[in-house]
Amino acid sequence: MQKTSEIASSTPRVLVIVPAYNESETIRPVLEEVRRAAPGYDLLVVDDGSTDDTAKVVETVAGVILLRLPFNLGIGGCMQTGYKYALRHDYDIAVQCDADGQHPAEHLGALVARVVDGSADAVIGSRYVANSDYIPSLGRRLGKSLLSRWIDYWVGGGITDTTSGFRAFNRKAMALAAQDYPEDYPEPEMIVILHKHGLKAVEIPVSMRPRQGGTTSIFPHRAAYYMIKVFLAVFIDVFRRYK
C-alpha cells in the first residue's frame, strides 16, 4: 500500500474537534468521555453561535479549548473553524467528533492509528462496515446507500457511510479543509473534495449510538428534499474547478 504522509514524531499531536450548536444537554458527557478515553488528545469545542448555555457548560469542563463563533455559520463553517485552529496550532491530526453523543470516544484511537500509520489522509468511522451494531431505518439505509453509490460512481473510494461525522484528518486533509470546506452537506461533499485533490480516504468500522439528546438537523419529512440537494451538491463538487 502506498504511504501518503507518515507522521514524523513518535507521539503525534491530536486535536479532537467537537462542533456544537445548542448541545448544552449532551456536550458535557461527550467531553468527559473523550477526556477519559483519550487523555493525551487536546479537545476543542467550536460553539456555532448557540443560543443556549452550550458555551457556559463547556467552560466548566477543565482544559477544553473553546472557540465561539459570533453567529451561526452552519456545520460547514463551524468545522472549518476547527480545522483552521488545528492547522495554525500545528496539530498532526484533527478528529471530528459530534457533540450529541453518537460517537463513542473509545474509537478515537483506532481512527487516529490509521492516519498515523500513513495508509490514509482521512479516516472515516463507518456504521455500515462489518462489526457495527447500528441499525438505521430502512428509508435512511436506502438513502444513504444511494448516496454512497453516487459518490463512489464519480470519485471511487468505496466509502459506505458518507454522512458520518466521525473522522480523522492528517495535515494534508486539514489544510484542504481549512482552505475549502463545503458549507451545505460537508460530510459527503468533503469525500468528493478529498478525492478530487488526490487524497486518500478510507473507512473503518465503529459502533454508533443513537443521539443522546437534542434534535437531528435532518428531519424525516425533509429526507427526500435533502437527498435531491445533496446529490446535486456532490455532482457540482465533481465538476467544480478547484483553486
Binding site: V46, R68, L69, P70, G77, Q80, Y85, E183
Partner: protein, 126 residues
C-alpha cells in the same frame, strides 16, 4: 388569423408613463445616494437604466424601430428588455451575495480564533 399589424405610432399615455417612471426612478436613486443608502457603484447602474427609459420616453422611435426588427408589438419589447435587464441584475446580485457571505464567514471564523487567542494572552500573568 393574421397577426395584428405592427403599430408605427406610440401611445401618448405610454410615453407619459415612461417619462414619469424614469424621472421618479432617477429622483429616488439620487436621493438614496445623497443619504448614502446606495453605493455609487450601484447608483450608476440605476441612473443609466433610468436614463435609457427617459430616452425611450423622449424618442419613442427608438422602441418602434427595435420592435420592428424583432417583429414585436412595441409594448412586448419594453417588457422583454426590462425582463432581461432584471434577470442579469439578479444574477449579478446573487454572485455578489455569495462573495459577501464567504467573506462574512471568514471574518466570523477569524473573530472566533482571535478571541480565543486574546483570552489566553489576557489570562497569562504579566
Amino acid at each position: 388569423m393574421s397577426a395584428a399589424p405592427l403599430p408605427t405610432v406610440f401611445y401618448t399615455s405610454h410615453r407619459v408613463a415612461l417619462l414619469i417612471l424614469s424621472l421618479l426612478l432617477m429622483g429616488v436613486v439620487l436621493e438614496m445616494v445623497r443619504r448614502s443608502y446606495l453605493k455609487e457603484k450601484y447608483a450608476i447602474l440605476w441612473l443609466l437604466a433610468s436614463f435609457s427609459v427617459l430616452m425611450c420616453g423622449v424618442f419613442p422611435s427608438i422602441i418602434i424601430r427595435f420592435s420592428a426588427i424583432f417583429s414585436f408589438q412595441y409594448i412586448t419589447l419594453v417588457f422583454v428588455v426590462s425582463f432581461l435587464f432584471l434577470l442579469v441584475l439578479v444574477l449579478a446580485f446573487s454572485i455578489s451575495i455569495s462573495k459577501l457571505s464567504e467573506r462574512t464567514k471568514q471574518l466570523a471564523q477569524e473573530v472566533a480564533l482571535l478571541n480565543e487567542r486574546l483570552a489566553r494572552v489576557d489570562s497569562k500573568p504579566e
